[in-house]
């Protein structure tokens, strides 16, 4: 049972397909579920992609291939070498380029018939409503909780569907929020997790092809909404387990008490989402006041001098295999259980990849009574930069 999405696209000036487009989209046109009428709906549709990364890549590619008439790309990031493992719109030559520009080039190469607008900006409460208002469907391909809530709230306030996808390691989720009568993100998750509780792709890692699958599902749902065919994932949370290769579905209910889409709306404007997610004040540089630190150069000096330092590596075993500075490995999660292996009379320097996890380790050990404990500022990445470039960065 398909409910066509109510948009203003039907009132726009009638458009048609030229000969080239008819040939390009012939495999759509010969299907009764699409046909000329459906392809014209695609041509008139305006879809905004929030994020051009792992999810945004297959999304953009398939929406462009399908002939969505206007695609907006929102991203403020540049292409990083580590992105190439999964962000398939980008090539090696794109490293260092703005993602919106590299994606626009790739998509327009594939389909010069469509309009691609880039918004090289961080999505904020100040710009979201203005950015969203001219688009019909918002597709959330972002990678952090504050933006998820921002995209949700802006979509709900403007009455636009929000095609949601998210991933972690080898699991993914997909659904359609913000559809008339359907739930929104806040109905599912009224509050975000505290910062750090759910690991990131940078720490958790991700199977490159996973966002390819979930992003493609998001593209499929977007196209179904535009065409008004099939059953969109409204009120259904699709769970994907890549390792088991299993799809499951859970019911999503609209929460009548939802503060933004419920019966009594209490959220009428966009809020400070970083504060909501508790990360106001968390800086990229993990210097926490009170955590004693040592720089890589200082550590090197002390080791060369023969000081009896105990190097505690709190990373995971597979990270140790990538590179290490011969530290003693106790993964952070195991530390509470293995703290008796440490000698509090010795001077201990804790390190991880970038200095964040080891800062937590130092904080934990200080609370446990350790006094001669320091955090290696910047972790093994900084060690590679400042002391020993032969140590690979990852």
């Amino acid at each position: 049972m398909a409910i066509p999405i109510a948009t203003d696209t039907m009132t726009k000036a009638a458009v048609s397909l030229n000969k080239e487009e008819i040939l390009r989209y012939s495999r759509h046109l010969i299907m009764p579920e699409v046909g000329m009428e459906g392809q014209l709906k695609l041509k008139q549709a305006q879809v905004l992609l929030i994020g051009t990364g792992g999810l945004g890549a297959p999304l953009g590619l398939y929406l462009a291939a399908a002939g969505v008439g206007r695609i907006g790309l929102v991203d403020f990031d540049v292409v990083d070498f580590t992105n190439l493992q999964r962000q398939i719109t980008f090539s090696t030559e794109d490293v260092g380029r703005k993602k919106t520009e590299a994606a626009r080039d790739r998509l327009s190469h594939m389909n010069p018939q469509i309009q691609i607008d880039t918004f090289e900006t961080r999505l904020t409460s100040e710009n979201a409503l203005e950015l969203f208002k001219d688009f019909d469907i918002i597709v959330d391909g972002t990678d952090n909780f504050p933006t998820r809530y921002l995209v949700n709230d802006a979509s709900v306030l403007l009455g636009k569907p929000n095609v949601y996808g998210s991933i972690f390691r080898f699991e993914g989720q997909a659904t359609v929020f913000g559809y008339p009568g359907g739930p929104c993100y806040r109905c599912l998750y009224p509050e975000p997790p505290p910062p750090g509780l759910v690991p990131s792709c940078a720490e958790g890692g991700v199977l490159g092809v996973l966002p390819g699958i979930i992003g493609s599902i998001q593209a499929m749902e977007t196209i179904k909404l535009i065409l008004g065919v099939g059953e969109p994932l409204v009120g259904r949370l699709l769970l994907f387990d890549a390792l088991g290769m299993r799809f499951r579905e859970l019911k999503l209910h609209k929460n009548p008490a939802c503060p933004i889409c419920g019966e009594r709306r209490t959220i009428n404007k966009l809020i400070d989402y970083e504060e909501f997610c508790g990360i106001r004040g968390e800086e990229a540089v993990p210097v926490t006041t009170g955590i004693p630190e040592i720089s890589p150069r200082e550590l090197k000096t002390r080791l060369d001098r023969g000081d009896n330092l105990y190097i505690l590596d709190v990373r995971e075993p597979h990270e140790y295999q990538i590179c290490n500075i011969h530290g003693n490995l106790i993964p952070l999660g195991d530390l509470p259980r293995r703290v008796s292996e440490l000698d509090s009379s010795r001077e201990i320097v804790a390190h991880c990849r970038s200095g964040k996890r080891s800062a937590d380790a130092v904080e934990f050990l200080r609370k446990a009574g350790f006094r001669k404990i320091w955090n290696l500022r910047g972790g093994i990445l900084a060690w590679s930069d400042e002391v020993d470039p032969t140590v690979p960065k990852y």
């Binding site: 990364g53 792992g54 999810l55 391909g141 972002t142 990678d143 952090n144 909780f145 998820r148 998210s166 991933i167 972690f168 390691r169 080898f170 699991e171 989720q173 599912l188 998750y189 009224p190 509050e191 975000p192 997790p193 505290p194 910062p195 750090g196 509780l197 759910v198 690991p199 990131s200 792709c201 940078a202 720490e203 958790g204 991700v206 966002p211 949370l237 769970l239 088991g244 499951r248 579905e249 859970l250 019911k251 999503l252 209910h253 990360i279 968390e282 990229a284 993990p286 952070l332 999660g333 530390l335 509470p336 970038s354 964040k356 996890r357 800062a359 937590d360 934990f364």
Partner: protein, 101 residues
């Protein structure tokens, strides 16, 4: 009632990498309590200090959210599946700290 509890990926490290656990429980709450008794580190990820399920974690009995059933008092039957679904967001560079309380 023998039921299966599915452990989501982000929490498997606290359950000896198990993806699912079999247990005997009359209610969803019983099953979760057994889970967090057998794997103590899971407790703080699933429950607040006051003993309530954390709000960014959803629990389903088969395909229904227990918030729309009888919460943790929801009764189980043979062969039911309890799924824990935490919110995930993809790759977050900012939040790098693990919760070790």
């Amino acid at each position: 009632m023998p039921v299966k509890v599915i452990v989501p990926t982000p929490l498997r490290r606290f359950a000896e990498q198990r993806s699912s656990i079999e247990c005997d429980a009359a209610t969803v709450g019983d099953a979760l309590r057994q889970l967090t008794t057998d794997y103590g580190e899971l407790r703080k990820h699933l429950y607040t200090d006051e003993g309530r399920i954390r709000s960014f974690v959803n629990v389903y009995l088969n395909d229904e959210d227990i918030r729309f059933l009888k919460q943790e008092q929801t009764q189980t039957k043979d062969g039911d599946t309890i799924t824990i679904v935490p919110s995930i967001a993809g790759g977050v560079e900012i939040a790098g700290r693990q919760f070790i309380g």
